[in-house]
């Protein structure tokens, strides 16, 4: 944990030094409520801070998919193939999307399966994947770090801020921010939580949305959302607010918690990829395109999120070129 704290602190320093242009919104804990200027510039609920782009539009796949194990020379896919494994950056505490299975010790979920499908497309073997856990406020930097990950699939919202630093794949999941409260609470949304402590992961867009909510709740940051659940169960916070998908995973672990409220925001999830090799983004989009069409996406949804109801139509791909 200390190793992680050190990394988090280092990343904080880096992003502060960079003047926050990294697209991350990490801020030292507890400073949110005391920083009106920050709250003023942060995105309000449902209104993205930056509408200069269409965050859903990604790079169009070019050529047809190469055969697994035969990546064209000179491409980044070939680099990955030669290395022998795909490095996926994700978290290990988001039940249903990417969490550690306590029985097997393996990290699994919807996001991990997205990564495994890319690995399968490169190698023909979904197991040729190395999972590296990254902090929530480390997701943008991770693809261009000294020891970069190839791909970040970590319930990461594609927005224009982040588009400046990284490429996103086409949208693979549509989420929206809601609130988790105690099952005895009368609150029906973020509007009823004025002055109460509401937790979110440090560096997530959810955190900004809490700080910017009109009802003025007190935003509390933790390293991850499961740490928020610990804080919730220890009565350190009154509620947790983030994407409904994550909240469902948390509520599944606590019978005294419920998810309430309308969606405060649209959170389209994309996989983050470095801008240095656009051919890989196009490749990933091609894989997504194929998997939407051949029912793989639907099967993945049913496997992890089947309890939420029947699988909806996969988010339609949009392209910017």
């Amino acid at each position: 944990m200390r190793a992680r704290a050190v990394t988090v602190a280092a990343v904080l320093l880096v992003s502060l030094a960079a003047g926050g242009c990294s697209g991350d919104s990490s801020r030292p804990r507890g400073e949110a409520s005391a920083a009106p200027s920050a709250a003023a510039t942060a995105p309000g609920p449902g209104t993205p801070a930056d509408t200069s782009c269409n965050p859903r539009a990604s790079r169009r796949p070019s050529a047809p998919l190469p055969k697994p194990g035969a990546m064209p020379a000179g491409t980044y896919m070939r680099t990955i193939q030669d290395r022998g494994r795909l490095i996926l950056g994700t978290s290990q505490d988001t039940l249903l999307f990417s969490s550690r299975n306590p029985f097997t010790g393996k990290i699994e979920g919807f996001d991990v399966d997205m990564g495994r499908q890319i690995a399968a497309a490169i190698f023909g073997d979904p197991d040729k994947i190395q999972i590296r856990v990254i902090g929530y406020d480390d997701r943008v930097e991770a693809v261009d770090a000294e020891e970069p990950v190839d791909l970040v699939a970590d319930t990461m919202t594609a927005n224009c801020d982040r588009w400046r630093d990284v490429d996103f794949s086409t949208i693979y999941y549509d989420a929206g921010q809601k609130v988790l409260v105690s099952s005895t609470s009368d609150a029906r949304g973020i509007g009823d939580l004025g002055g109460r402590k509401v937790c979110a992961a440090q560096g997530s867009t959810s955190y900004d949305n809490i700080a910017a909510a009109a009802s003025k709740p007190v935003a509390v940051a933790r390293a991850g959302f499961a740490d928020c659940l610990v804080a919730f169960q220890q009565n350190e916070v009154d509620a947790i607010s983030t994407d409904d998908t994550i909240l469902v995973g948390l509520a599944a672990q606590d019978p005294y918690a419920k998810v309430v409220g309308p969606r405060m925001s649209q959170e389209p999830y994309g996989m983050a990829i470095s801008k240095k090799h656009p051919e890989f983004t196009r490749f990933v989009n091609a894989v997504l395109e194929r998997n939407r069409a051949n029912g793989t996406w639907k099967k993945t949804y049913e496997r992890w999120l089947g309890d939420l109801g029947p699988a909806p139509r996969p988010p339609a791909a949009q392209y910017r070129d």
């Binding site: 200390r2 050190v6 290990q92 505490d93 306590p102 010790g105 856990v133 902090g135």
Partner: protein, 440 residues
Amino acid sequence: MSTAQLDRPAPAPGPAPGGVLRRVRALRHTSPGRLQLLLTTLVVLGLLTGLVAGLTAAAARAGTDDLGDRAQPLLVEAETIYSALADADTTAAQAFLAGGLEPAELTRRYEADLDRATTALTSAARRTPPSGTAAEAIRTLSAGIPRYAALVASARANNRQGLPVGASYLSTASQLSRDSLQPQAQMLFRDARYEVDRGYAGARASWWSALLVVLLAALLVTLLVTQVHLSRTTRRTFNIPLLVATAVTLALTLTTAMILTGQRSHLNDAARDGSAPVALLAEARIYALRERSDDALTLVARQGSPEPGKDPYEVTSRELTRRLDQAGRGTDGSARQAVDSAARHRRDWENAHKQIRALDEGGRYDDAVRLAVGEATTQTFTSLTGDLGRALEDRKEAFTREIDAAGRGLGLLTVVGPLLALVVCGLAAAGLRARLEEYR
């Protein structure tokens, strides 16, 4: 020379500033006066010597007892608390890494660690004054350990139900242990080391000893001067009672010197062969435990190797190497063998750690975990801490031996010192009174 004389007004105006001084000065000019002066000096010196001999012995004894019964055990208990907490943290991380239902052996070890920590905490509380940093540390630990145990219990309960939030409970517990509990235990340990240093100073009772030496020398000189004076002014060459008094004083001086130098030499041995290596080895064991814990937590975090320069393992590793080197140089006999064996197992463990990091870096996380929690690595590491524990026990025994030896004779001196001094006073009085009678 009663104080009543002081209260009287000066009997007659004169050049002398005070009546008493003038009278004393007047005594010097008559033969019986001189004898009276010598007798008074001898008796006063004798009584003072007796008093100081008793006090010196009592102070040295109290200091030695405090060192052996309070300061050093406090150091050992502080080390127990610290290493038990570090071990519990390491064990919990190992159990988590192993995945699935935690192995019963690790659970037992964790429970035993907590037991050791709380037991040591209770007795450390008894040996600590109710205010000060040590007491503050004990209060924080007393409140924190149950909270830590509760967090680990929640982690386990969640883990049993297959809920991933268990992992977060465990990391919260680990954070509490590393950021709050272990630093407090470390503070207690440092405080105890300081107490031990102070304990040695107290046991040496240096000021009292110096005063005693001065008094004994003064008494001997006065006895000799008196005898020389008597043999010059009377026809008798020897004054038997004074001669015996001199012999008794010499005997007292020799006994005191023997007991006190013996005590000091044993104290020095206890410091060199006991306290110093105990502190070193205790720190070495703590750093070893931290190494394993750092290794496990890096795997738990799954973030790859920390950047060079920011790796807590590097710092811990440097400190451990330093402690092992020092401990190797500062010990001999079976402790030295144990330290050498520890250094060998340390090399094996370092190799295992490098292999674990290489596997993890190479994307073979599962193999890295298997190696980290595997039988062979655990065996190597247990041998390392076991060796350090053996060396520690050996040095603790050496300390107890030396402290027991240092305390020997001090009790005797407490009684015999004042008694012999009284005998000297009596003999001096007897020897001089006979001469004084002759002037009546």
